[in-house]
């Protein structure tokens, strides 16, 4: 059993909600959703406040769109029971972050700046240099900037799991419940079209 229970008291709209958090939803539990009316009060509470794990494949995707999908789910805004104080966000696993695709010339033009506070320590890195140094940094910074700027942001970032390739550790693989669809439709290369499709493509004129 992979449950980790944490109890937290949160004030929501003047009334107390006792939240039971569980690290993932087991398949056995999923199967008994078909008989929801027979749940006891505590089991119903467990069901409503369960924390799910989502998977996103970032191959050939713009990192900003990936980051906005992540931030929505990390805050819990995809749930009708959302409240900013309720700590109701889910876990998000992003794989293939090494293969993200910026549009335009952002690889050379987008600059990530940092300053440690000491004189002479102002560093500016282009997106390409940053990505070479750390393939998960671009998406991490994008998500960090999209989350609400309060103390819950750090907890939400701890629930974001980034992997540069599609090799995921086993315990995370066991927790995943759903893979989200990719935001950008990947265009096909010419080599991926069949000869019939290439022939069927309309031609204005043939070079004689």
């Amino acid at each position: 059993m992979k449950y980790g229970t944490t109890f937290s008291f949160c004030w929501s709209g003047g009334s107390k909600l006792l939240l039971y958090h569980y690290s993932h939803v087991e398949v056995k539990f999923i199967k008994c959703f078909f008989k929801m009316s027979s749940f006891s009060r505590s089991a119903q509470q467990w069901a409503t406040f369960a924390r799910s794990w989502f998977l996103i494949d970032a191959r050939m995707q713009p990192p900003g769109k990936i980051a906005s999908m992540c931030s929505v789910r990390l805050q819990g805004k995809h749930k009708p029971i959302y409240h900013p104080l309720s700590d109701i966000g889910d876990h998000v696993v992003v794989m293939n972050t090494r293969h993200i695709a910026f549009s335009g010339n952002k690889w050379e033009q987008k600059v990530y700046s940092s300053h440690t506070g000491y004189p002479g320590s102002f560093k500016q890195l282009t997106a390409a240099q940053m990505h070479k140094k750390d393939p998960t940094a671009i998406i991490k910074l994008a998500v960090y900037g999209m989350l609400p700027k309060n103390l819950t942001r750090r907890t939400m970032m701890q629930r974001l799991h980034l992997f540069p390739d599609d090799v995921l550790p086993e315990d995370i693989l066991k927790n995943l419940t759903e893979e989200l669809p990719q935001p950008r439709e990947i265009p096909r290369k010419l080599s991926e079209y069949t000869q019939e499709e290439r022939n069927a493509f309309p031609m204005l004129w043939t070079p004689a």
Partner: protein
């Protein structure tokens, strides 16, 4: 004291009283007074005028009249859930005592402490409470890179 330091309870009714028949929750009411003291004047007047009508109207409640040599007259109300409420009625008029007794008979025996919510329902959800898979199709196949 603060709300956290004092006891509190949720709104409830005793066994859904009133949905079917209404059962008066006041089991026993005892009037303790003295025959000669001046603090019990109001109680004695009430016993002359109003107590018999009260007992007739509330047939489910037993009324005890106990004259004792006591300095302070009391009304002791006992309820069906076992709670006992004592009120001192020194130097009260007969009218005030009558109002007090009707108030006691209208109460259920539940504690008079802070009520956390002014509402309660046994059916909090009609269409079914939301859970993460309400509008989300389940996937029994494993999710992950090896699934591709």
């Amino acid at each position: 004291m603060t709300a956290r330091g004092t006891p509190s309870r949720f709104l409830q009714s005793v066994l859904h009283n009133g949905v079917g028949r209404y059962v008066c929750q006041l089991k026993r009411i005892s009037l303790i007074f003295s025959k000669k003291g001046q603090g019990s004047l109001g109680v004695r007047d009430f016993i002359e005028e109003g107590v018999v009508d009260f007992a007739k109207n509330n047939s489910g409640t037993v009324v005890y009249i106990s004259p004792q040599s006591c300095r302070i007259p009391k009304i002791v109300a006992e309820y069906l859930n076992g709670n006992v409420k004592e009120e001192t009625v020194t130097n009260k008029t007969s009218q005030e005592i009558a109002e007090l007794i009707t108030k006691l008979s209208n109460q259920s025996g539940l504690d008079i402490i802070r009520i956390r919510k002014p509402f309660h329902t046994d059916s909090p959800s009609i269409q079914g409470q939301w859970h993460p898979f309400t509008n989300r199709p389940l996937s029994i196949d494993p999710v992950g890179p090896q699934a591709k």
